[in-house]
């Protein structure tokens, strides 16, 4: 019996729950200096002068650097297609563009003294008008980057058409035949990723070789950047991502704060390190989401959805990064699980004087789901149809896969109706509606809301291969090297299971090496819910090859045909079919293999992405007097194809649900009208906690994908994608009988209270 599909406990948890693992800050580095960045307190200002002499005299301060000291080309913009004039300098060069922009780097022998020194750097600023509101940034005469001549970073489809990537879409009469067309403006607010481990970096040069420690999701890409920046040979750079305490997409690329550490180290010829504070992290680690959406949905009175239009303004922040590119991902998943044949999409990504936006758990797809799921609910309300019924009427049928949507995305496989049926049944939907009716009739101050969402998303969406290697060691244990870079996902256990499944070597005897570019020759990293279906498959195939090699070797040794060799996985021994008494163990085979060893490497490139899906129901109680929302139940049916370890998958769903709830109910990164962040610590920023969450009711569903041999799709982001609109829909549903039609996220007490008041006509 295969170990796959079992709830194997995570090997790595012992360490994380006891010693806490080894993070970049824990790496000992003899004689290292500490860097503290002086950051701008202004959103937009010209730097008149920087006075560093007092800082330089401060005890322990070794050096203070400003823009003029730097002899290193800036990092290329993190956003494809971005205007080069919007490139971020290492340290602000004449103009600061957001609160938190780096102005100077203070280097001292201890962190404490670097902090003291940083207070003695005096910057004279001339205030400029900030561009804070993304919705008007495109036409704002004030420019975030003067030289760029515009605040617009990327326009879709226009920029893709002029780049020759796509053709001008044919004119369609979008709402032809529609009885009803509804419109709604929605804000998919900016959030702070808040990984438990903030950013940290350390660097050391020895004989022209650079070792860089980084808390990243993609060490090989950090290495590539360093090779390019310092004009080195690949073998001169080693990047190590030790244990990484969460990333959520925000730690995919290398940040200037981190890579600059290598420059400082080289310049002063000492190892150097940097770690940010929590407030610094909340202000300057890339933010997620940040879309303003204008949507229109049309259909017939009997519930056939016909046309959908979405127009997006994407806030890219001061220096366009991946955030500017998010609308591309949103468009990919525009119509979700529905068969809507006519669509129109346009977006405008703009620069503003705020922290840059990046990928964040779902990266563009949650925004698509939030928009369509909210619109479907409003449409149902408008035509007086149950939202579950309206969904059912428009779902893509399971017989239609592979299915290409109106925007040209091809979904691999799905059974959306089954997911919907299952969640309705698990929730006891009819009884819930009945209870809701009774509460409405009684006029209770606490009203009940039932929110649905049916979603589909795309995982492993970026083409390319991932590396995996398996090697059997002299003692009969195994070692895996993987290009994925886990930071909470449990690959150490999951990849060991893949090897155990093929080789019979038990999970505890399989070592998994990741996050070190000297140990792992190639790698892409971990993001976009890609790891199992790319790096996992590579490990699986490498293990298969090792078994093949072993069989050949056994055949040679026992003078038999390789096809007749069997591996008795239980006893971890090979024998010729029919003669189980003469056997060879893994250790014996490794010895027999001599210098060649017993190993295999695979670079697996999936033929395409996969499209996990599911259906969520949230039951909320809304206090109509105070606007307070409490969640009573969250029922989630998620289908990520074949589940290799349901325990780990469930963990991913739990975290995803919590994060999705957080966006719907709690979290928002806010700036005032002068561009000052006003939620830059965990007291002001309503990071969700266990106390605000009900116990999750999760129901796995398995529709294997034909795309890869494991039948697996991604599960890392599903929870976040499905739950957010379900919560938001539940809040609105609790109030719809009072005339409330929409409440923007996060659905805070003041927003809910104001919406009720407005519906009552009090204002």
């Amino acid at each position: 019996m295969s170990i796959l599909g079992n709830r194997v406990l995570r090997k790595e948890d012992q360490k994380f729950l006891t010693t806490g693992g080894t993070y970049v800050e824990d790496v000992p580095l003899e004689g290292a200096v500490h860097i503290v960045y002086v950051r701008s307190p202004m959103a937009h200002a010209r730097i008149r002068s920087i006075e560093t002499s007092e800082a330089l005299e401060s005890p322990g301060v070794v050096a203070v650097f400003t823009a003029q000291d730097i002899d290193l080309d800036p990092m290329p913009p993190g956003a494809p297609f971005a205007n080069r004039a919007m490139t971020r300098p290492w340290l602000a060069d004449g103009v600061v563009r957001f609160v938190g922009d780096m102005v100077a780097a203070v280097v001292a022998d201890t962190r404490e003294r670097a902090v003291d020194g940083a207070e003695l750097v005096f910057v004279d600023y001339e205030t400029l008008t900030p561009v804070v509101d993304a919705s008007t940034a495109a036409d704002n005469p004030t420019l975030v980057h003067e030289d760029a001549g515009t605040n617009v970073v990327l326009r879709l489809p226009d920029d893709f058409v002029s780049a020759g990537i796509e053709q001008v879409a044919a004119e369609v009469d979008l709402f032809e035949g529609c009885d009803v067309v509804i419109r709604q403006r929605m804000v998919n607010q900016r959030v702070a990723p808040c990984p438990l481990e903030v950013r940290a970096s350390a660097a050391k040069w020895e004989d022209g070789h650079l070792t860089q420690w980084s808390t990243t999701q993609a060490p090989h890409s950090v290495k590539d950047t360093l090779v390019q920046l310092f004009e080195l040979q690949p073998d001169q750079v080693r990047v190590i991502a030790p244990d990484v305490g969460g990333g959520f997409g925000a730690k995919i690329g290398g940040y200037p704060e981190e890579l600059f550490v290598a420059w400082v180290s080289r310049r002063i010829d000492r190892p150097a390190r940097w770690v940010e504070t929590r407030s610094e992290s909340m202000m300057t680690l890339g933010h997620g989401r940040g879309q303003i959406q204008e949507a229109e949905l049309g259909g017939t009175r009997d519930g056939k959805l016909l046309g959908y239009k979405l127009t997006i303004t994407q806030d890219a922040g001061a220096y366009p990064n991946f955030g500017a590119f998010l609308p591309v991902m949103t468009r990919l998943m525009l119509t979700g699980v529905y068969d809507i044949t006519k669509t129109e999409f346009s977006s405008c990504s703009v620069a503003t004087n705020t922290n840059p936006t990046v990928a964040y758990r779902g990266a563009g797809r949650p925004e698509a789901t939030a928009a369509i799921e909210r619109m479907v609910d409003i449409f149902a309300d408008e035509i007086g149809m149950d939202p579950a019924e309206l969904r059912r009427k428009n779902l893509i049928g399971k017989e239609c896969f592979p299915f290409t949507t109106a925007v040209g995305t091809t979904y691999d496989i799905g059974d959306y109706e089954q997911a919907l049926d299952r969640v309705l049944e698990a929730a006891g939907y009819a009884e819930l509606r009945e209870e809701q009716r009774q509460r409405r009739d009684s006029g209770d101050t606490k009203q009940m809301g039932i929110g649905l969402s049916t979603y589909v998303e795309v995982t492993n969406g970026i083409p390319g291969s991932e590396f995996g290697a398996v090697e059997v060691l002299a003692d009969g244990k195994a070692r895996v090297r993987t290009g994925t870079s886990p930071h909470g996902q449990g690959h150490v256990t999951a990849w060991a299971m893949l090897v155990a499944d093929q080789l019979g070597i038990p999970v505890e005897d399989v070592e998994v090496i990741h996050g070190d570019t000297d140990e792992v020759p190639r790698g892409v990293g971990t993001f976009g819910s890609k790891s199992l279906q790319s790096g996992g498959v590579a490990v699986h195939q490498a293990a298969e090859r090792v078994v093949e090699k072993a069989k050949k070797l056994v055949a040679d040794l026992l003078e038999a045909n390789p096809n007749d060799i069997e591996l008795d996985k239980e006893n971890r021994r090979f024998h010729v079919a029919g003669t189980p008494s003469v056997t060879k163990s893994w250790a014996e085979l490794v010895e027999a293999s001599g210098d060649a060893g017993l190993s295999a490497e695979v670079d697996f490139a999936a033929p395409g992405p996969t499209f996990p899906f599911g259906a969520h129901i949230v039951v909320a109680e809304v206090d109509t007097e105070t606007g307070h929302v409490s969640l009573e139940r969250i029922i989630a049916v998620d289908d990520a194809g074949r589940l290799m370890n349901p325990l780990i998958a469930e963990g991913q769903v739990h975290g995803g649900l919590a994060q999705g709830v957080a966006q719907a109910l709690m979290e928002e990164m806010c700036y005032d009208d002068q561009g000052n962040p006003i939620t830059a610590n965990l007291a002001d920023y309503a990071f969700v906690s266990a106390a605000e969450l009900p116990s999750f009711e999760t129901h796995p569903m398995e529709t294997p994908t034909p795309i890869n041999p494991l039948g697996a799709k991604g599960i890392g982001e599903s929870g976040t994608i499905g739950s957010t609109p379900a919560v938001q829909n539940a809040v609105v549903d609790a109030l719809s009988h009072l005339g409330v039609r929409h409440v923007d996220m996060p659905t805070t007490p003041i927003r809910v209270w104001s919406a009720i008041k407005e519906a009552k006509g009090d204002r």
Partner: protein, 273 residues
């Protein structure tokens, strides 16, 4: 998150603490649980040059039943106030309020004296002691001084304690027949957006409001309405009388006034009125 350098004095007795405060004057700060002071120092919003640590003065950690009132030592941790049998019996409002502060870590470190002396208008215990008509005992170089709670809070993070005085004891009357603490928060561990403390003690009803002004305030209009026979619902309508709360990301002034009314009504009802 690194404070400016400071000197540290560990007081071995109350007298030593008072002497150290007298010596260093305005430059010195007492350190109790550290859960208000240290965060301010780490953000460099507070920069005392001397910390006088009273954290180990066990003489200041007690709960005593004193005939008509109970006395609580200033260094009694929130967790202990929450679970102490005398407090639970004689001043259940305080126990309930202490149990709503922050999270378990905060409740195991933070002290009632620190909470009152810090005088954050969003803190919970100051409002409760005010609703209970408590008395605070301060000790300075000249001896003990009793301060009614109604005269203790002067402004935002400001009390009538002198720089060389240590708050040693909090007294609240016995005889509670009904109480409620309505703390309106978004997350369980948050500070109150608005809080309302209600205490029925010896036939009198005390109502105080948290986080609607620069200090905790008594809802005098509500108390008067109740005294002249108004129903809980009618009296609660007076809760925002004279209030000019500030707005922030969680609430506009108007929403705070609204919450004050709703929570007062709920508090009065829960207290059996």
């Amino acid at each position: 998150m690194i404070p400016v350098a400071f000197d540290y004095v560990r007081a071995e007795s109350l007298d030593e603490a008072i002497a150290a405060l007298s010596e260093h004057g305005d430059e010195a700060k007492l350190l109790a649980g550290g859960h208000s002071l240290l965060p301010l120092m780490k953000l460099r919003l507070g920069t005392p040059s001397v910390l006088v640590d009273i954290g180990r003065l066990s003489e200041l950690s007690f709960v005593r039943d004193e005939d008509t009132y109970i006395a609580i030592g200033a260094l009694t941790r929130h967790h202990d106030v929450q679970h102490d049998t005398i407090v639970l019996r004689e001043a259940p409002l305080l126990a309930a309020v202490a149990g709503r502060i922050g999270d378990p870590q905060v409740r195991h470190r933070g002290t009632i004296g620190g909470s009152l002396a810090h005088a954050d208008p969003a803190s919970d215990l100051p409002g409760a002691v005010l609703a209970l008509d408590g008395t605070l005992v301060a000790r300075g170089p000249a001896g003990d001084r009793e301060i009614p709670a109604s005269e203790f809070f002067k402004g935002f993070l400001e009390t009538t304690l002198a720089p060389s005085e240590v708050l040693v004891e909090i007294r609240v009357p016995k005889g509670t027949t009904g109480h409620s603490y309505q703390k309106f928060v978004r997350r369980s561990q948050d500070w109150a957006i608005v809080g309302v403390a209600v205490a029925r003690v010896n036939g009198h009803v005390g109502v105080s409001l948290v986080n609607v002004a620069s200090t905790p305030v008594r809802a005098t209009a509500v108390e008067q309405a109740l005294a002249s026979g108004a129903s809980a619902a009618d009296a609660a309508e007076q809760a925002a009388e004279g209030l000019e709360p500030t707005g922030d990301a969680n609430a506009t002034p108007e929403f705070r006034r609204h919450l004050a009314r709703v929570l007062t009504r709920r508090g009065l009802v829960e207290a059996g009125l």
